[in-house]
Symmetry: C2
Subunit: 396 residues, 2 copies
């Protein structure tokens, strides 16, 4: 009986350069993507009814930045809600803006994700990120960093299925390959398996090149109702489904470390809503962005999303099936690994990338063939505390 | 053209005891209101499709508490979005849950606001709250506490309109009077004008008894679509409008200090949507909860909401027109002043109170006469960075 009554389209998209953005302040960084989103939509600030904003901001002294971001962007006195679901906060912002339009509360809504992680030093950021695990049980007692949490997954996965460190490395090589062609990416450098294998261990078996970086960046989307979208654009991209799920934050309570259970649930919900066969989703989906905060996370995502059978995700990597021309191209933006991972901007960034992929507007070396007109974003918060899976489509 | 396609009803409500809650941990405090909300709605956790959660949490080391709150409350793997708009975060949670239901994304949604401010010491909390002003320009340069910001308002208001400190004190006396009868209130003590006038100055002209306290507490609402509400309850309370607006965070950029401009805008939007005459809203509204973080804030709210003409709000206080039997009864819960102000729980708490007022379920000494079946909540974030105005009604 749950059903959406108004269709929602993406009609504008903006993306800042990702990287160490000491050249701009926080508000300028936000404006970089908002301005581009407004321009691609062909609207002005006054047309926007509602803003959903994601900024995790642990590294900032400003506890409530939304009003000031709006003011800098010329959006005062518009209504805003700031949202947070850790590293999936960007998807939560898009979901909130989506609900604003689908509910009729807004005809045009802005979703903006922004993070300026270099406001603190690296060691502070690494500690603050570690707290996003199960704070009381894990961080307070054992003090792992985030790579430590994902090393647990990598350990059990490799032990159970026989994946090798070289298989993980293949993910990093692929994502750096595509990031090289993305002018907005933080690292534009092709790397080799040897580069990854010789990089220093951070938490065995994960090495430096298995990890996404600390990144500053912002990304923005303009969403509109069908009626408004039809007036403003000839090329709307429809949000067919944007579904979230949660799991215990406490890894000691998980059944295993080979899968993120909330990802499986969110994918199932999204596939059902979008009419995608959960057994063979790659038959429908032209291109996907998945949450490769660490290389093992991308391999688990292949399985959690049904791109590969359980225990066979690493074979997709080994056989290069997630390059263009393979079973399903994944992270043609460079992914979190190479494009960068500004925590609360990442989910929005994924959807900016997929919108441009569907509209065939990315650089030719990393443009997926668009056959079905369907794309998927998979965005994980914490160690799977939160997951959102989103399906975008050229057809309503 | 903006319109809501699905009606949304409140079908359950819960409220923890407010105060210094060192008797419970954070998760137990949340469960106190969630349990009551689920029980009053006559549902179980599995019936909930979506959760909107507000927790400002500056005083906590846990950066992303939503997943753990859900787990403790038996709500994993439900979708959650945590929201923040400073002291109006609770209204943002209700708005987000409202949009989830109105959009068809959920048939039943939970809004939960929670704050455990005593996790830090008083001086830390006072400093952290001060940062919610315009951080860079005001806090960093001048270091005011929050009472300092509102003292600016009180100064200009008294200077311009001839209000006296005793007029401000009348607000505190009224709200303590009603809080005395509210078993969930933090302070259950009637006070006199002399008590207020002899309390120590915090920031002239505001004294200790002009200020709301540091509070732990939670509040929760269950929202449902019309179809579901009709099945589950004979007494739904409808959300007729829940509208937000923003203003510059930087007080130096405001036109004056006698009004909160975002409150005027949010009220105008809410009145329009709910069909309330903005010139005489008290003709429609039986009872209101307004954001009396400081006594001057309640007086400005009277004017911003149209309960009094500009410059005459203090006369409503002087003439006791906002007691039961007056022009419009305000803060019969005790308000932030006496009930307490657990930052991100406050907006949800206001709506729990108004739901019970409309259903005539509060203690008789503080029950408003319900004639039109309409109630208003006014919830301010920061120094007016964010404002939400909500209209609840017994009729759809």
């Amino acid at each position: 009986m749950v059903r959406n009554l108004r269709k929602v389209a993406i009609i504008g998209y903006g993306h800042s350069k990702f990287g160490k953005r000491t050249d701009v302040n926080f508000f300028e960084l936000g404006w970089e993507s908002i301005k581009e989103a407004i321009n691609t939509a062909g609207i002005s600030q006054e047309d926007i009814d509602f803003v959903a904003l994601s900024n995790f901001g642990l590294w900032s002294s400003e506890p409530s930045p939304a009003a000031s971001i709006l003011e800098y962007a010329g959006l005062t006195p518009k209504e805003v809600i700031r949202v947070e679901t850790a590293c999936s906060s960007g998807s939560a912002a898009v979901k909130t803006a989506y609900m604003a339009v689908a509910s009729g509360s807004a005809d045009i809504a802005l979703a903006i994700g922004i993070e300026k992680m270099h406001e603190s030093g690296t060691s502070d950021v690494v500690e603050l990120l570690g707290r996003i695990g199960s704070y009381f049980w894990e961080f307070e007692n054992f003090g792992p960093t985030f790579v430590g949490y994902y090393a647990l997954y990598a350990n059990q996965y490799m032990h159970k299925y026989g994946a090798k460190e070289e298989d993980l490395a293949k993910i990093a090589v692929k994502n750096h390959y595509y990031g090289f062609y993305n002018p907005k990416a933080q690292f534009r450098k092709k790397i080799t398996i040897e580069d990854v294998m010789s990089s220093p261990y951070i938490a065995w078996p994960l090495k430096l090149y298995d990890c996404s970086p600390i990144t500053d960046g912002s990304a923005a989307l303009i969403l509109a109702s069908e009626e408004v979208a039809r007036k403003l654009t000839d090329s709307p991209v429809w949000i067919k489904a944007i579904e979230g799920a949660t799991a215990t934050a406490n890894l000691a309570k998980r059944d295993n470390y080979i899968s993120i259970p909330s990802a499986v649930i969110a994918a199932r919900k999204a596939y059902k809503k979008a009419g995608i066969d959960p057994e063979k989703p790659y038959k429908h989906i032209d291109v996907a962005e998945v949450h490769d905060c660490f290389t093992i996370a991308e391999i688990m995502a292949y399985e959690d999303l049904g791109f590969a059978k359980r225990g066979e995700g690493f074979k997709l990597a080994r056989e290069e099936q997630t390059y263009i021309g393979g079973l399903i191209p994944v992270n043609l933006s460079g992914g979190l690994k190479s494009k960068g991972h500004p925590i609360a901007a990442t989910g929005v960034s994924m959807m900016v990338e997929l919108t441009k992929q569907l509209l065939q507007k990315v650089e030719s070396a990393r443009q997926a063939p668009i056959n079905n007109g369907t794309a998927l974003a998979h965005n994980v918060g914490g160690t799977g505390h939160y997951v959102f899976v989103t399906i975008l489509s050229l057809s309503k």
